[in-house]
């Protein structure tokens, strides 16, 4: 008996369920870690644009290859996510469209194209096309052991990259002007951070779907920020929150028949966020309200020698 089946047996799960669960935990964790820098760099919506833009890629990859295999479909998703980010860059560079408007346009257009393509394939009765709809709202039901292993590997690599380059990513996110003056390749570091976010959005598709996967990238970091004033701690907390949200969501949708995974993951993440918003020690609403009741005891802002 392999280690894997042994571990699954101890938990009372089938080996496949066990591997899928580990996969979702790893994806949720890595999405939270990578998402920290997209939140700190104020690019929270860029991940959302990439997420919505995965749909046309999934549909086109399926139409060309006829394959329902996850690696093929995710490769298509990644290519169209990258293409959408390219469009975003071009819109900003060669037109006077503002960043928020450009992002909204990319989200809307790519999502519309994706839904049109998928419903077109379904309407024509192309065999297997019905399964594409799981990319909309997420579903772990059809994940194979090999699929889940791939998600784990990508997640681990993403987290290792963030751990290795935390210093550089923090510098560029906090003060890009200073970083550029000191000779750091700001454009490339930014590009790497956005690309990493796009990758996490793609591997997060089975967990939460194109519409909601951004919640895994944005909500855990924002919740983590409530509890700490240090980037390193924020990365760890966001990873744990993402892991918890992903596992809770997947478990809920497995327990209650007919519920897609994505909405459950979002609900779990929002619960963590709400608690953080209210109860965090310094930045929580409760702590702020307590401080407001005793204004004289807080000489924080006074200039000192």
């Amino acid at each position: 008996m392999s280690l894997l089946t042994a571990a699954a047996h101890v938990l009372g799960l089938s080996p496949n369920t066990f591997v899928v669960t580990v996969g979702m935990a790893a994806v949720g964790m890595a999405a939270g870690v990578v998402g920290c820098f997209s939140v700190l760099r104020r690019r929270a919506l860029v991940g959302d644009a990439a997420a919505h833009a995965t749909l046309p890629g999934v549909a086109i990859a399926f139409a060309i290859t006829g394959s329902r295999g996850l690696p093929v479909l995710l490769l298509g998703a990644a290519l169209s996510a990258v293409a959408s980010l390219g469009v975003l860059v071009l819109l900003r560079r060669f037109t006077r469209t503002r960043e928020d408007a450009a992002t909204a346009i990319v989200i809307g257009v790519s999502f519309g194209v994706g839904v049109a393509l998928i419903s077109g394939l379904v309407a024509r009765g192309v065999p297997g096309s019905g399964g594409l709809e799981r990319f909309l709202l997420g579903s772990t039901a059809s994940l194979s052991t090999a699929d889940a292993t791939m998600l784990v590997v990508v997640s681990l690599v993403a987290m290792a990259l963030v751990a290795a380059f935390t210093k550089e990513a923090t510098l560029v996110s906090f003060d890009p002007g200073f970083a550029a003056a000191a000779g750091w390749p700001v454009w490339w570091i930014d590009f790497a951070l956005v690309a990493l976010t796009a990758v996490m959005v793609v591997v997060g598709l089975p967990a939460a779907g194109a519409v909601l996967v951004t919640a895994l990238v944005v909500i855990p970091p924002v919740a983590a920020r409530q509890w700490t004033d240090r980037v390193g701690v924020m990365l760890v907390l966001a990873g744990l929150f993402g892991l918890a949200a992903s596992l809770l969501g997947v478990a809920l949708s497995a327990t209650i028949p007919g519920l897609a995974t994505g909405p459950m993951v979002v609900l779990a993440a929002s619960a963590i966020f709400t608690v953080s918003l209210l109860l965090a020690p310094k930045r929580g609403l409760l702590a702020i309200a307590m401080r407001a009741r005793q204004p004289l005891s807080l000489p924080l802002e006074r200039a000192q020698p």
């Binding site: 380059f165 906090f174 003060d175 200073f178 003056a181 750091w184 802002e301």
Partner: protein, 256 residues
């Protein structure tokens, strides 16, 4: 052959979205001093130092440090950006910001160690901020934030410093402290270039100044450059500062 200037800008022209904001600036600084870059709002003062530091691309011209392009001497050039340019709610403490000044020497992948931490603490001490090392930067006053930025520049251990409005919106005590450190740097033989908008203090603080209004109006020793004619040329069309201008010229005369 004489040594090349510490800093030389030749025919520097910068444009944003095809619209020029700085025209044909020629400027050379031969020796260490406190050098003020003065001009009205929107005159391209910040753009001038960003161009010198390679943060914004040049349409024309070049910039040399000690006769060499910037890429060969990055480690010897320090920078203090405008305080408004960063998010002060960012999850870093004062000491973390100062440590960023050591990143260039560390290079890729290497992490800060004990030596860097001790050095960063010493830099905070020099600007009078030693007691605030572990405070999140958003919970510092504006003057304290500016001093943390200055400490980060000190941690760069540079020989030429560019500072963008280091004295804007800063309390009197921080202003004194910042000015003292900048004077010390000058006395140690370093060149300190400061973007500054307040004419009243410019006359007494800087050894040399450049007047900028989308082009270089005049540059040289402060007393020569801050003349009534030069100021009128720089601030033509900026009627709101004419009052201030009169007082500034008077103040300039009184300075020995």
């Amino acid at each position: 052959m004489s040594a090349p200037p510490l800093l030389e800008l030749h025919d520097v022209t910068v444009a944003y979205h095809g619209r020029p904001v700085l025209w044909h600036v020629d400027l050379a600084v031969q020796s260490p001093c406190l050098f003020g870059i003065i001009g009205p709002n929107g005159a391209g003062k910040s753009t001038l130092i960003k161009a010198a530091l390679g943060i914004v691309p040049l349409v024309e011209g070049w910039v040399h440090f000690w006769g060499k392009p910037l890429d060969q001497v990055r480690g010897r050039v320090g920078y203090v950006p405008q305080r408004e340019s960063v998010d002060w709610d960012f999850p870093v403490r004062a000491i973390d910001v100062v440590l960023m000044g050591t990143y260039h020497r560390l290079g890729w992948l290497r992490r800060v160690g004990r030596a860097e931490r001790e050095f960063a603490q010493a830099c905070l001490d020099r600007v009078g901020m030693a007691d605030f090392a572990t405070r999140q930067i958003g919970r510092l006053s504006g003057g304290q934030q500016q001093r943390v930025f200055l400490a980060r520049a000190l941690a760069q251990q540079a020989e030429i410093y560019f500072l963008d409005e280091p004295l804007a919106g800063v309390d009197a005590q921080s202003q004194q402290q910042i000015f003292r450190v900048l004077s010390e740097l000058r006395d140690e033989g370093k060149l300190v270039l400061i973007v500054h908008h307040d004419l009243r203090t410019a006359a007494s603080w800087f050894d040399r100044v450049a007047l900028v209004d989308m082009r270089l109006v005049a540059a040289g020793p402060t007393a020569d450059v801050l003349s009534r004619e030069n100021l009128a040329r720089t601030y033509s069309g900026h009627h709101e500062v004419l009052d201030e201008l009169g007082r500034a010229v008077e103040a300039g005369r009184r300075t020995p």
